[in-house]
């Protein structure tokens, strides 16, 4: 199955137009759910209502076999909704929808851990109504032979904000990202993705922001370190549709390559059919700056310590929007 399609295809020989994944029939997986007050839950059979980054083919497969858990947020919640996935040695999946009603607020923490091998597929739909605020945190700590597909779609209404933090720390093959439509005026997407890739790990990211509402704002930041024989591909799209006047979109990427055997691909697209917008992209890919390295060495740090420090720095910068203490402690524990 092909997923993570690039918004506009380009040279086929570059192998960036999509990703191919293979897995067996998916059985339903029930995450451990800790809901705060103000969040109601129901389980329904419903097709995926919004576009997600993996594409329609995956949605159709999941609809056939998985029910959808719908979490409706009706007020400003002070504690987080926690969804803990501890996948076993099989192919399983889950479909979630989070609907933030007008003026509501919620932080959602999704932990993905697993046994050594297996496959996990999680689809998340986010509907953020007017003036709502949703802070989504996804932490990936899967097994060394585990394949994880995290498929996210979001529809963001007027004056609503979705902050998305994705931290990829362990897993053989990790496919992630998000497809966000900023449909309302002044809708906002703030996306931070961080990674620490080692050995032969693969991260395939597809982050898409579609601007439809006037004065909508998107900011996508992707940063991390690659070592060993790890491989990463980042597809990013900021797409300004006609009518999205006054909108701003920015995407940036910082990839620190720690070993000579890594592969890093980046495809940051800006598509524009509206003239009254500002779109920008910046990327910096390579080794550690010589001056920074010299300074750190002069302070007595060894190679190993410098690598660890830089990895931590990238991850901690990624999680600056995370408020949930349990989530932050887990990230610290994993990165240490």
């Amino acid at each position: 199955m092909k997923i993570n399609h690039l918004s506009v295809p380009t040279w086929n020989k570059s192998n960036v137009n999509d990703a191919e994944v293979l897995f067996d029939e998916i059985s339903p997986f029930e995450p451990i759910v800790v809901p705060p007050s103000g969040v109601s839950i129901e389980v329904i059979k419903e097709s995926c209502e919004i576009q997600t980054e993996c594409g329609e083919e995956l949605s159709q497969e999941l609809e056939k076999v998985l029910p959808k858990h719908v979490f409706t947020v009706s007020k400003k919640c002070t504690s987080a909704l926690r969804l803990d996935y501890n996948f076993k040695n099989s192919t399983s999946g889950s479909r979630i929808k989070i609907h933030a009603l007008p003026n509501s607020e919620l932080e959602v923490v999704m932990n993905f851990s697993s046994s050594e091998s297996g496959t996990g597929v999680v689809q998340l739909e986010i509907v953020a109504d007017e003036n709502s605020k949703l802070n989504l945190v996804q932490i990936v700590d899967a097994g060394t032979k585990f394949l994880l597909v995290s498929d996210v779609g979001a529809k963001i209404s007027s004056h609503a904000t979705v902050k998305l933090t994705q931290v990829y720390l362990n897993g053989a093959k990790m496919y992630g990202g998000a497809f966000a439509e900023l449909v309302g005026e002044s809708a906002k997407l703030d996306c931070n993705a961080g990674y620490n890739l080692k050995k032969s790990e693969l991260l395939d990211l597809n982050l898409v922001a579609i601007h439809r509402g006037k004065k909508s704002v998107s900011d996508i930041k992707v940063r991390g370190t690659l070592s060993g024989k790890s491989e990463k591909i980042y597809r990013g799209t900021i797409d300004f549709k006609t009518g999205a006047s006054g909108s701003k979109g920015a995407e940036s990427e910082e990839a620190l390559l720690l070993d000579d055997t890594v592969t890093n691909k980046a495809v940051p697209l800006i598509l524009c059919t509206e003239d009254d917008v500002e779109g920008a992209h910046g990327a910096s890919i390579g080794r550690l700056d010589e001056k920074v390295e010299y300074y750190l060495r002069s302070r007595g740090l060894s190679d190993k310590q410098i690598r660890k420090l830089m990895t931590k720095a990238k991850i901690f910068e990624t999680v600056k929007n995370v408020r949930d203490k349990i989530a932050l402690d887990k990230i610290r524990e994993l990165i240490n």
């Binding site: 380009t10 570059s14 495809v267 800006i270 524009c272 009254d276 917008v277 779109g279």
Partner: protein, 469 residues
């Protein structure tokens, strides 16, 4: 006196004239083995070239058109005439060129440019070169600038052509490269010997006069060790109601310590499908500089590629494209860092207006062998109205940690703050916009020789302060 301050579409009226073709000069339209054989016969191809063309036709028939290209719906290949017989054999004396062809190039200013600022000129009219000449100084230095078909039949260069022809751009590179290989006609061969610095540029000018025709010239350039060459390519055609096709090919070999600058001012008519292929391979400490101005054509797919194959090799790509009403310009560059300590720089500007579509597409690949390499890409796009479109689609593929790759892109319209500042200094809003657009193009136009920068300014019709009466 009023001042003209609007940004107009590119004015192509200067190029919009033609002379009737005799039907007997044209082969049948379409692409069949028989037509390919007829082209081979017309050209008196050696046997290896005849076989090469037929094999390329098979590849062309089997290959699909790239699915990511802009739509080519208006291009009916069965209607395209791939070869038009020359009225005369190629001349080395301008006075011997037939009057109508001579008039064409004189109206385009080619002979004047040759006299004033060029080392040599080649002029192709439809399928064949009609004129080729070079200054005596360059000839004395051993520089070869001749028609490529003549070089293929010349014992001195035959082996060189066989060794280099379509080796850099393989026949199966893409569908229109295969078509080019099957029906190619005309074009230039340039060889600059070791250590020779060609003082003035060489220029080839391509003019497609016939309606519903294709032009498939092949340019092969070899700049030997330590040499320098500036080569300029200009293209134009009158506008017809039927689609035309340009599927030329440029192959450039830049040897150790050599430098090659390839400037291209493309102003095809708005019914032209410009599906050209350009590629350079650069050896140790060599340098390729691409300067590209894309103004014409209905649809363009053009991505010059630089393969940095020797230690310390460098590539620079500077381009500007202007897409007006009905135009879809899909342009950019490809740079492959395949050796240590190589470096590259891309700097592009695009302007979209009146519903025109500009797409910047690039790839920078740093292979495992390219330790210590650096690359920087900067692309800026300006949209002058909400009917237009602008896209940037860059790829960065880095396979070694000992590399520094940077990329920055911006899309937007002219900023309100900039206009506010300039109007506060006494300029009208229109004058302020015009000034900003001129400044936007400046980085690129300053890279061109002065006469071509002026030509480019004319092409864009940004005569912001010119009188309109």
């Amino acid at each position: 006196m009023k001042k003209k301050t609007q940004v107009s579409d590119v004015d192509t009226s200067r190029y919009d004239f033609y002379f009737d073709e005799e039907p007997k000069d044209m082969l049948k339209s379409g692409i069949t083995p028989e037509i390919i054989d007829e082209i081979s016969k017309e050209k008196n191809d050696p046997e290896w070239m005849r076989e090469f063309r037929q094999n390329a036709l098979k590849v062309y028939n089997e290959m699909p058109t790239a699915d990511w290209w802009p739509p080519l719906d208006g291009l009916d290949m069965s209607e395209i005439v791939t070869y038009i017989r020359a009225k005369v054999r190629m001349k080395n004396n301008w006075e011997d060129v037939p009057e109508d062809i001579k008039n064409t190039f004189e109206r385009l200013g080619i002979p004047q440019a040759e006299r004033e600022s060029l080392s040599g000129v080649g002029a192709q009219y439809d399928s064949e070169l009609v004129y080729h000449n070079m200054r005596e100084e360059a000839r004395a230095d051993g520089v070869v600038y001749m028609d490529i078909e003549g070089a293929m039949r010349d014992k001195r260069y035959e082996k060189m052509i066989r060794d280099y022809f379509m080796k850099l751009v393989p026949v199966d590179d893409h569908k229109f490269a295969a078509l080019h290989a099957a029906v190619w006609s005309g074009g230039s061969f340039v060889y600059v010997p070791k250590g020779v610095h060609v003082e003035y540029p060489l220029q080839s000018y391509f003019r497609l006069n016939a309606m519903g025709a294709g032009q498939f010239e092949h340019t092969l350039i070899i700049v030997d060790e330590g040499a320098y060459l500036h080569f300029i390519e200009g293209c134009s055609a009158p506008k017809y109601y039927k689609a035309s096709l340009h599927a030329g090919c440029v192959e450039i070999y830049v040897k150790k310590n050599a430098t090659m600058r390839f400037s291209s001012i493309e102003n095809w008519s708005k019914n032209m499908y410009n599906l050209n292929t350009k590629r350079a391979i650069v050896e140790e400490s060599g340098k390729i500089e691409w300067i590209s101005g894309s103004f014409g054509s209905h649809t363009s797919c053009l991505y010059p590629m630089s393969i940095l194959n020797g230690k310390g090799a460098r590539a620079e790509f500077t381009s500007i494209s202007f897409a007006g009403a009905g135009q879809n310009l899909d342009t950019g560059a490809k740079i492959i860092h395949a050796a240590p300590d190589t470096s590259s720089y891309m700097n592009t500007r695009s302007i979209s207006k009146s519903g025109g579509i500009n797409t910047f597409r690039s790839i920078v690949k740093v292979t495992k062998k390219a330790r210590g390499s650096k690359s920087s890409v900067s692309c800026e796009s300006l949209m002058l109205d909400p009917a237009s479109r602008s896209n940037t689609i860059p790829i960065m593929d880095v396979q070694t940690s000992f590399a520094d790759v940077g990329h920055e892109a911006k899309i937007g319209r002219i900023g309100d703050d900039e206009i506010f500042y300039l109007t506060s200094r006494g300029l009208s809003e229109e004058e302020a916009k015009a000034l900003i657009v001129r400044g936007f193009c400046d980085d690129v136009s300053k890279e061109l020789p002065i006469e071509y920068a002026m030509e480019m300014n004319n092409l864009i019709s940004m005569e912001m302060e010119g009188s309109i009466g």
